[in-house]
Amino acid sequence: MSTPQTIGQRDTLVPVSALNEFVYCPRRFYYQHYHDEMGTPYELVDGRSKHEKQSQRGGWITERYFRAAELSLHGKIDLIESDGDLLTPVERKRAESGQYFPSDEIQLAGYCMLLESAIEEPVNVGYIYLYKTDERYAIQITESHRETVRKIIDKIQSLSVDSIPPLTDNPKKCEACSAREYCMPAETARLEPEKARGTGWEGQI
């Protein structure tokens, strides 16, 4: 192909939900981005949140869209708990397993960073709420979370259509992966074993 296009060239900002997707499996992220659905139409979300501009005192703020050019990040925060001056993003997960994952923490960190850039005050705590167990976890957002977020944004922005990320290093993830039928990890390992070299699928067949 002539000019490899990077995702960074196409959308300058990375949606926060992409962080989670990318951490789950960069390959699945690649498929979603280049081969299948292009993700949520953010303009639409943006338009909707304008109608809800009046902020509330105490309680909940729902469905608010933010963008932060300096972070190259944008996204919709579904739920923000507001307690006096304190705003805390809440990330709700179905989590059939009854637990959350490091990728959920990263996504939450992304929301915290978005929010603090909007209100220009530090946001160092976020909540993960699990429907399944009706439990809420307070997550302290550390510098290492932030560093990870920035690194992933970099990786996402330099992803190019010409280089497909390798199969996951953890084949267990494939079992629950929505892209599995299309990705064909086991089939790839069988048809072209060299494509599975160095991935979790090497030697699985």
Binding site: Y34, Y182, L191
Partner: protein
């Protein structure tokens, strides 16, 4: 190896009832007998379907067409007797990056893919014949090997032509008494067997079209068949490997088991209305029949196997795989 969870099963439906209307009701597609008084004929969850084939006087409600567009459902129109008329293709079926890769394919890469497809077709022709106990397939074996050294598409087409000729000479031996295959005739099919073959190729072509469209490949841009206006060249290319092992095998089964008799044909060699309905049912059963995948060793329906080939083709086109891997049966 475990098969990935399927969403291909029952993803294609056929509507033959004249005067029926396809409607939506919440999350379901409902086939309604608007002309008669049979009421609801069938209903399907909308997210499961990707293709609806309609024959003759069948209508779509406007809300249904809007929904089909949203959900990426392709609608194929046929005459009552199965002649293809055209399609409604939803908007979302164009993903720039995949299309770009397809348009940018180099000649060599096209030839590589085409070679695999034709080699696969010849392999499957031999397999079908040998399953039926037909001998004398050594020429086919040699021609299969020759595809590897064919340096141009014309060479490859030549090899394919020779193989087809040899294969059709032998096909006669697979048919039960009372059936004859003299030579392949297309427009119009000159005998009952040719008529069944032509019909089956149309249906398989539509299976392949649906599969290509589902994965956003442009069915009109081929790797071997020349691109002519209105001809789905890539579908014809991908169809090659399925012709012997799926299409011809199906026709042989129909006549050898007496599902279709000479009485079932009209003067113009087309199936009578009743026989055509039976044919459709059998074809649908056949595509949903399971077999052990020859390369992956899990059980798949034929329909799913065809769709997987569209994925593998796309992976070869987008350079995710180094080669196109045709669906070949060695035994």
């Amino acid at each position: 190896m475990k098969a990935p969870e399927g969403m291909f099963d029952e993803s294609v439906i056929y509507v033959t009832k004249q005067g029926a209307q396809v409607q939506v009701d919440g999350g379901r597609i409902v086939i309604w007998d608007v002309d008669g008084d049979e009421g609801e004929l069938a209903s399907f969850p909308i997210e499961k379907l990707d293709t609806i084939n309609v024959f003759g006087g069948v209508n779509f409600s406007t809300p249904f067409v809007a929904r089909a567009n949203e959900h990426g459902i392709v609608l194929n129109y046929f005459t009552q007797h199965g002649k293809y008329r055209g399609s409604f293709v939803p908007e979302k079926n164009t993903i720039a990056e995949v299309r770009r890769a397809q348009y940018d394919l180099s000649r060599e890469r096209e030839l590589d893919i085409a070679r695999q497809m034709i080699a696969g077709k010849i392999r499957n022709a031999r397999t079908l014949l040998s399953r039926k106990g037909v001998r004398g397939t050594d020429v086919l074996k040699d021609l299969g090997v020759r595809t590897e050294s064919d340096a141009t598409k014309d060479d490859l087409r030549g090899t394919e032509g020779e193989a087809a000729e040899r294969y059709f000479q032998l096909l006669d031996e697979t048919l039960a008494d009372g059936w004859m295959f003299e030579k392949r005739t297309k427009r119009p099919p000159e005998d009952h067997i040719n008529s069944l073959l032509s019909l089956t190729y149309v249906f398989m072509k539509n299976e392949v079209l649906s599969a290509l469209r589902q994965y956003n490949l442009d069915p009109f841009l081929g790797v071997l068949h020349a691109d002519r206006h209105g001809r789905p060249s890539l579908a014809l290319d991908l169809q090659e490997e399925f012709r012997p092992i799926f299409c011809d095998a199906f026709v042989i089964r129909l006549v050898n088991r007496g599902v279709v008799n000479h009485d079932d044909f009209r003067k113009d060699n087309r199936l009578s209305d009743g026989a055509f309905k039976t044919y459709l049912e059998k074809f649908e059963d056949y595509m949903n029949e399971e077999l052990t995948h020859p390369h992956f060793e899990y059980t798949v329906t034929r329909r799913k196997a065809v769709r997987q080939q569209a994925i593998l083709l796309r992976k070869a086109i987008t350079d995710e795989l180094d080669e196109y891997h045709p669906l070949t049966f060695a035994r």
